[in-house]
Structure formats: C-alpha cells, structure tokens
Amino acid sequence: MGVEGKSGSAGTITLPLEKAVNWARTGAMWPMLFGLACCAIEMMSAQAADYDMSRFGMELMRGSPRQSDLMIVAGRVSRKMAPVLRRLYDQMPEPKWVLSMGDCASCSGVFNNYALVQGVDEVVPVDVYVAGCPPRPEALIHGILRLHEKVRQEPLTDWI
C-alpha cells in the first residue's frame, strides 16, 4: 500500500518488485525445528537424503524461532504445549508462515479427547494443511511447494 501509493501509477515498479521479493522469500525459507511427535520423524526423513528438502531451499532447521521463517507444526499439540506453541510463534519475526503437518495438527486426527488442541489453527493461523497420518515425505514436500506458490502470490503489504 505505502510504496504503491507514493509512486502513483507504480504498477510497473511494484509488480516486478513484488515478484522479486516473494521469490526471494521462497528461495530459502528455513523451517523452525518444531517436531512434536510421529510426524517429526517423517519430517526428519524428508530432510534426510532420500527426500531431500534442501533442494527446495530448506537447507537447515533452525532451533531458534528468531532465525526461522516457517513453522512446521509436526505432531499433536496437547493443551500443555499450546501456550508454548503460541509463544514461539510470537517470537518468530515477520514474514512468517505456518504449515500444519499431519492430521493431529490439522484437526487432532485420531485423538478426539480432552488432552489435545483440536487442530492447531485454534492457536496459530495456518497457511497450508498437509493431511496424512503421518504424511509421506513427498506429501510434505508437496505441501511446501503449495506454500511457495501461495507466497508467490502474496501482495506487497506495508513493506516500508
């Protein structure tokens, strides 16, 4: 809004700028290590040599939320863990995205009971949901590529 407003008819400047910025954001989107349960093992398999996620820019999994862009919630979120999840999400700097991996994160999966948060979108806003219990590494990579497509279409919002 800000940049476009100031440059008047700035479609010719901001459109390629938008594309460049979004391309850069998808180029090296580092996920935060947030493996909770079984989906974490499939996430580790996706990171390992057979289904390499480094090809898509996710070379490292950063332990610290301050240095990561993407939070892959891999696994079931219990009610004890939910405040921790929210706190870590708040500690991530903008721009940030959330990918809810697996059935337990998306809708609590097999476990419809007192102990789990019924879907992590009750705690953090989710961009992409990947279904499966656990999703195959290829499914996770598909989810990440869809997220990249979504990011490429994001408009340039108060970027100043």
């Binding site: 419809n112 009971n113 007192y114 009750e122 806003p125």
Partner: protein, 173 residues
C-alpha cells in the same frame, strides 16, 4: 531359588489378615491386600534373599465407579534372578482415596504414583513429591476417572460444517 508359592506363603504368613484374597487368572497370581500393608508387603518381597523381587514392573490404578471400593491400585513386581511376576492389588475407597507410598522400597515408583495422582486423584501418603506430571500443573480434575468426560468434540461433516465453523475458536493472526 524362590517360587510363587513361597512368595504367597510369605506374604500371608507375615501379614495375616491384611491379605484379602489370592487370585490366579490366565497364569498370573495376584494378592489383594489392605491399603496399610502395601509398603510392608513390598519390603518383604524385595528383601527376602530367596525371592528377591527387585524390580517394580508396573503401578497403575483402575476406576470402578460407581462401585465401592472405587479404585483398585495394581502393582506388578518382577524378580530378575527367579524370573517371576507377582501381582499386588489394593482396593481404595472413593470417598478418601489414599494409601501408603512404596517409594521407600522402589525409588522408581515415584513417577508412577504421580501419574496415578494426576489421572485418578489417589493420594500416596509418604511420597516426597506429589505433583501433576502429565497434565498442566493447574489443571482441575482427574482425567482417567470414569465420571470425567472424554472431551469428545463434535465432528465437522458437510451437513454441519458451517455451524461448527462459526463457533470454533480460530486464531486470526
């Protein structure tokens, strides 16, 4: 070398009328005791040189609401030298659910007892640490009791999708 007969005979001899019942089901022997005798029974079984039940395999509870006695706390002891399993059971009432802790005999009982406290509300007297272990520390209620609801949430199908969607607490940002 000890045998199960020696173990049951030792317990019945030493504890007398604190032993309520002796059962065998599917090849497993279980001695049912009164609550106040459990620590002494565990100590006897562990310290006896022939029997040597040196490993606490399991400690848990079962809720038989609304029967009285409401809870049964079940133990399984294992003797490594003799390769024997022995079960102990203590019926605990629902109005005042407490019994002595066997932490002094088996240090590994502490977390199991904390879990039983957390899930059932059974107080272990003499335990040095009786906090919640699996639920958040300020949770109310004891989840595995039979009168505690499962917490089942209504499933979102196509016919009720929108109405559940409206009242589900989504995080907006």
């Amino acid at each position: 070398m000890g045998t199960l007969e020696q173990a049951t005979e030792l317990v019945t001899r030493e504890l007398g009328d604190n032993v309520l019942e002796l059962t065998t089901f599917r090849g497993e022997t279980t001695i049912s005791l009164k609550a106040k005798a459990i620590t002494m029974a565990a100590k006897l079984l562990r310290d006896d040189p022939a029997l040597n039940f040196n490993f606490l395999a399991m400690l848990t509870a079962v809720d038989y609401y609304p029967q009285e006695p409401r809870f049964i706390v079940a133990y399984r002891l294992y003797s490594l030298p003799n390769n024997l399993y022995l079960g102990l059971q203590v019926p605990v009432s629902g109005k005042q659910p407490e019994l002595p802790s066997i932490e002094s005999v088996y240090p590994s009982a502490n977390w199991h007892e904390r879990e039983v406290w957390d899930m059932f509300g059974i107080n272990f007297v003499g335990s040095h640490d009786q906090r919640r272990i699996l639920m958040p520390h300020d949770w109310e209620g004891h989840p595995l009791r039979k009168d505690y609801p499962l917490g089942y949430e209504e499933v979102q199908f196509t016919f009720n999708f929108d109405e559940i969607d409206k009242r589900k607490p989504y995080a907006k940002e």
